[in-house]
Amino acid sequence: MSNYFGIDLGTSNCAMAKATDAGLPEILPITQVINASGIGERQLLPSSLYLPASGEFPEGGPQLPWQDRETSSFLGTFARDQGSLQPDRLIASAKSWLCHPHADRRGPILPWGSTTVETKLSPLEVSRHLLSHLLANLRSLNPDTELEHAVITVPASFDEAARALTLEAATQAGLGEVTLLEEPQAAFYAWLENQGTEWRKQVKSGDLLLVCDVGGGTADFSLIAVTGKDGNLALERIAVGEHLLLGGDNMDLALAHAVSEKLSTAGTNLDEWQFLALVQAVRAGKEALLLNPSLQETPISIPSRGRKLIASTISTSLSQEDVQHIAVDGFFPIVGPEEMPVLRRAGGLRESGLPYAADAAISKHLARFLSRAKANATSSPQLIEVIGGSERLNRSPLLLPDAVLFNGGVFNAAALRQRVLKQLSQWAGTQIRELEGSRPDHAVALGACVYARLRATGDGLRIKSGTARSYYIGMESSGMAVPGRLPATKALCVAPQGMEEGSRLAVSGQEFFLYTGESSEFRFFQSEVRAGDQVGQLLPNANELEESARLRIEIPPPTGHQAGEEIPVRLEARVTELGNLELHFLHPASSESWKLEFNVRLQ
């Protein structure tokens, strides 16, 4: 019997699941350091990495069975707990750095802004450490396990560069060949598996489904269209959202600040450690209040720092009103379909660091996603057909779904699921339904192993999903020089949206000139909203696109050519079987070619 593995490489937590040929998939326990003296098993591995001071654990500290004494970092539960007390030595949310276009993702930049850590790590290394840990854990359960063809999930909002870096981290960690899967799709596969044949009772041909995934630190949206005849339904992912650093942790922080201010007005000020304890306490309080709307308030106890627990515990409460006002109305306000999120803070300067969402209103981000999805669909006759004609586009400024699948810890609270459904229903003018039977906590890892089995056996329904964006390469115009004006950079579409794994597309009938032997700059662009663009299409101005990478490289001249020569090349885009996007320059005269990966390296 074969085993199929799925890895949820999450922003806050990682999980791992296994499926066999028969039977339900299961979450695997992950051995990790629990505290300064022990190790144990948890279903989740916090994606936190803690870099201790060299004098902190002179004898090495707690060690995992597979670790040597030289290990200079901890990850998992102990890292998260210890790191919360020493934030300067904690790497958290490394995954969000992996898709930060302006960060040096191979450079030792984490913990970001730390003044005490001497040897920092790159976002890529952190991913590698997490994956190595998961692999070692699996081997300790079963020494003969091969992780070949495991599936690793990434946010749908990850661009090609972040995806390629994830694959690179997997290779470095020794996982061998792996496949990537978008997290909202994984949640959907888990739901399909969970429903068995029943899922056809909940959706029908022509439906548009929204996967709404709000975890601890990130929000991720996708739209999946249901097509085909009744006995033979097909699924296609037609839109993905932008990377949004906004989630349940923001709610807990907002509530904790509210309680802390209330205490401060009454003359009690909390230190940092007490504030952390307060965040934990309001999280539990919020869950209790959301679960039971008739509860007016829940008491909150904040323990003292020293050993006098009873004499100095601070007693306060979290009110239902605060939770409704801050968590529900603050994060899920009912807004009009035209209300878009504020994208930048008003200040002219922003502190460097992760680009956290400036607007906490998830409803507005959802409106923006659905409005961009509409723009994307409108641009492509093919997509209009997939969503059942243009009638759906005329109804609203948003591309509205018929049903929603919820995922992520935030949606354990029924009140928040109801709020999102209410918002969507109000936009649609008709009731939007929830897909029943979701499992918000472990769905992504479970769905990933289900997908791994599906890929290996071919048995089951697959969501059709090509590249989520279209990709462009910057092209210097060949126009006449005009004094005082730089020529506009044009953008050549090299990979249209929806390119599937294992496919290749050549820019036919056109030749381009490549400078060789001297360093030159390549610019790459992408778009989530231009499904209609075809390969080879030249956009007059790249400014309307999102720049994803800029690369200065030197391409060696082919044999028989001088450095500094311009050589004619053809362009071909390939999406590998693993979903990696590559751009090839072919020089027909010498049969030489150069490959540019979008992450972006030259070979």
Binding site: T116, P299, Q603
Partner: protein
């Protein structure tokens, strides 16, 4: 090289270091043999329950008599566990000579490590060690919430605890000959031979699974871990 399709080449470097008795998989209650370390977890479990019951006594809304009953039942449960424990006769043996395991940690060390978890998350040692004579019920109640939340989190994380009996408290029941004697404690006037007819006072608890952390830092200098490290706030370089 192409970062995506290259096969992993360093698999042989990550040789697993395990053996059967030290499997990191959660132990399952349905397995026919109970590992020797179960004893420690059972005692530790008793400590938690006692702690929780101690805390519940101070909750203003609690009925004292009920709390006392609960506490006594918890002690009973520990006794039950201890009664069913097997003799610790099988020591784990290293599976291969190339991967020698450290000496199996001593029972005391395991218990101290678990107590340290209860202190870390539920401040149990602080709570029990503090003088409460002059504290008000409201103060104690407020502190008890910290103890309750933390100890409960630890219980939920390391044990799967379910009621031993599904019947309601106060329900009548009859124990026929051959009943699972260690799972019951008979009170009142008990005849010589079963069947025993009576009323259920407390449905009991049972740990369906136990997955305690394994300690790693014992040495000759300190045979068990510290209960709570001294905390020092360091300010910059």
């Amino acid at each position: 090289m192409n970062g995506s399709s290259a096969k992993g080449t360093e698999k042989s470097n990550a040789k697993p270091v395990t053996n059967g008795a030290e499997s990191p998989l959660p132990r399952n209650a349905s397995s026919p043999t109970i590992p020797p370390r179960m004893k420690n977890s059972l005692i530790a479990c008793g400590i938690v329950l006692l702690g929780l019951n101690a805390a519940s006594v101070y909750l203003p809304t609690q009925n004292l008599t009920l709390a006392a009953q609960t506490a006594s039942a918890a002690i009973g449960m520990v006794l039950v566990f201890l009664a069913i424990r097997p003799q610790p006769n099988q020591e784990p043996k290293p599976s291969s000579p190339s991967a020698p395991l450290p000496q199996p940690p001593r029972a005391e060390a395991e218990i101290v490590a678990f107590l340290a978890l209860l202190q870390q998350h539920g401040r149990l040692v602080d709570f029990a060690k503090e003088d409460i004579a002059s504290a008000s019920d409201a103060q104690i109640g407020s502190a008890a919430r910290v103890v309750h939340a933390g100890c409960r989190k630890i219980l939920d994380e390391y044990f799967e605890i379910t009621p031993l009996q599904n019947a309601e408290e106060g329900a009548s029941l009859t124990l026929e000959a051959g009943y699972d004697a260690p799972a019951y404690r008979l009170l009142g006037s008990v005849p010589e031979h079963p069947p025993y007819k009576g009323k259920l006072l407390h449905p009991g608890w049972i740990a369906q699974s136990v997955k305690l952390p394994r300690i790693t830092d014992t040495n000759e200098k300190r045979p068990w871990p510290v209960l709570a490290p001294a905390e020092v706030e360091v300010n910059g370089n």
